[in-house]
Amino acid sequence: MAVDTQPAPAQLPGAAADSRPPDHRQPLWRRIAKRVLGYGVLAFFALVFIFPFMLAIITSFKTRPDAAQTPLNLIPDPATLSAFEAMGQVNLPRSAYVSIVVTLSVTLGRLFLDSLAGYALSRLDFPGRKIVFAVIVATLAIPGIVLAIPRFLVLGQLGMLNSFSGLIVPLAVDAFGIFLMKQFFDSIPKEMEEAARIDGATIFQTYSRVVLPLAAPALIALTILSFQGSWNEFLHPLIAAPSDASLRTLPVTLALLRGLMGEGTDFPLLMGASILTTVPVAIVFFTFQRYFVQGVAASGVKG
């Protein structure tokens, strides 16, 4: 993967131009103009992508009249924590708990099941392997909305509607994760596994002691994608727990909260809750950024 994941090394001014002779031949004013234009466009879009979040953070510290009348003032007047205090009354702590339980369970489930399956598809020569892999690739193409009604039906038949297991189990295996792990296992050499097998290790021992440590980068990428995907998931928790308010995840509670408010929208509360919903994913994102980038890039290059 030729993705530039390292921060650009500190360079002396002009060093970049020296490495590219044609650029050097351009007149000075053109080089300066190109930079000004380039940075101008980049900075404008950076503002477009980041400013909404900044405004949401500021708004969450405003009073309701302040947010409604001067939505663009960058300083809350007066600053207040009342939006955050109100969150207890609309069941947000409970939703946060549900979101955490579901996200952690789904992520652990995917790590274990996807890597097992990916390993089998990459390394173990079992009858039917090609068909199984083809089926898994095919399920990648099924749109989520097509699954909404039949999943509701299956969960109902299994008695899993309105339960934690119904929120977790259907998401705990995903075809994309299996695909990602298989591709990664395909890319690492087999020698160490073969050595372990000759030394008498069982297949499961080889997998857990030799292969998994080697697969750390892929496992981290999978962790992050699963964490982000299940934390943000909206449709599945919406249909899997339709009638139990104590089993709503944060996105479901947020969306329904907005619906209940109608005209008198409490924007400080909505903005505060939106920002708090964003924080966990943001922390994971900034900590493991380069794996995020690799995961997305992998999906693109392989596609």
């Binding site: 993705v3 879009f45 992508f49 749109p143 097509v146 909404a148 009604i149 982000q228």
Partner: protein, 339 residues
């Protein structure tokens, strides 16, 4: 030696299936079986309240109600197709073009701070669709940030974004003096007059389209960036040595080399935009006047609000077919040589 090999092969078969079994069981029960059940349900009159086996088999009635029989079901489905078609036509080119342009600029060697800009652009993509929908709800208020920004450049009154059913193309036509010509108003397809078909997205749908573009562009930019960085340096240099101008270089070298990535980005763009649901749910719930109703939202509304699970399943299958057809057609157009 042969005995050992057989033994190893047997262990691999057993282990292979053992390793595979839990994941496969999960996919079978919660993805593959459901698809078949959805197909089955789409031929039944199931309301979602009784066990599905107690519903009656009604053949193609659900599909007929959506496609051929005059009535509210067909009109609503036609409206949702129209809305989603404008949504796809607007969002896919816009997000692809912006993402490509940003990737090309970020990839310029004379610019620094790559990782900062990449992070800033990608950040919206990782956040909850519902959370960013609520933030946009705030931005698109009458006295909100979007109107303030537009007002700084254009002599506009504050636009009513969130409760505005006026079609954008209707607005433009009204601006040049065209009002409901009889030939368009009197002919209809699927119960919707031609005049209604050419309305364009409503202003509210346009706001949601801008939100979708804003959210997705970062991901697509990362994919383009990975593609650009996979272009061999030799190719770049050969073209420069041959004296290609930057424009020639872009159209003759970069664009052809990026064709597979472009195809991938357009494909996931189309697949994603035909399924828009979360933003509609959070912002407009299909309104105003059904102008943000989409097939995906219709599936939810019919199935879980109006107790027409059979009809909703039929909508979801037609949507599935639409997505598959678009993907195949596009594959032919974008990369005919790869057939």
């Amino acid at each position: 030696m042969n005995a050992l090999r057989t033994k190893l092969t047997n262990t691999e078969s057993v282990s292979g299936w053992t390793f595979m079994a839990p994941a496969l069981a999960g996919l079978l029960v919660f993805t593959l079986a459901p698809i078949l059940m959805a197909l089955w349900v789409s031929f039944r009159d199931w309301n979602g309240l009784v066990p599905p086996g107690q519903s009656s088999f009604i053949g193609f009635d659900n599909y007929r109600a959506l496609l051929f029989e005059p009535g509210v079901n067909r009109t609503d489905f036609a409206i949702s197709l129209r809305n989603n078609a404008y949504y796809v036509l607007g969002v896919v080119p816009l997000q692809t073009a912006i993402a490509f342009a940003l990737a090309v600029i970020v990839n310029q060697r004379f610019l620094r701070g790559k990782s900062f800009f990449r992070t800033a652009y990608y950040f919206p993509s990782i956040t909850s669709s519902i959370a960013v929908s609520l933030i946009f709800l705030f931005l698109f208020q009458r006295n909100g940030a979007v109107n303030a920004f537009l007002g700084a450049f254009l002599p506009l009154d504050n636009i009513n974004w969130l409760e505005n059913a006026n079609g954008v193309i209707h607005n433009v036509l009204a601006g040049v003096g065209v009002e409901r010509p009889a030939v368009l108003a009197d002919n209809s397809i699927m119960g919707l007059s031609l005049w209604q078909w050419i309305s364009g997205p409503s202003v509210t749908l346009l706001a949601i389209m801008l939100l979708a573009t804003w959210t997705t562009t970062g991901t697509l930019m990362l994919i383009f960036l990975a593609g650009l960085q996979n272009i061999p340096v030799e190719v770049e240099e050969a073209s420069r040595v041959d004296g290609a101008s930057p424009l020639q270089h872009f159209f003759r070298v970069t664009l052809p080399m990026m064709k597979p990535t472009l195809f991938f980005v357009l494909t996931i763009g189309i697949i994603g935009t035909w399924q828009v649901f979360d933003q509609i749910f959070a912002i407009s719930a299909g309104g105003p006047q059904k102008t943000t109703l989409t097939p995906a939202y219709l599936v939810y509304r019919e199935g879980f609000r109006n107790f027409g699970m059979g009809r909703a399943a039929a909508v979801s299958f037609i949507l599935f077919v639409i997505i598959v057809v678009f993907t195949l057609v596009q594959r032919r157009i974008v990369s005919p040589d790869e057939q």
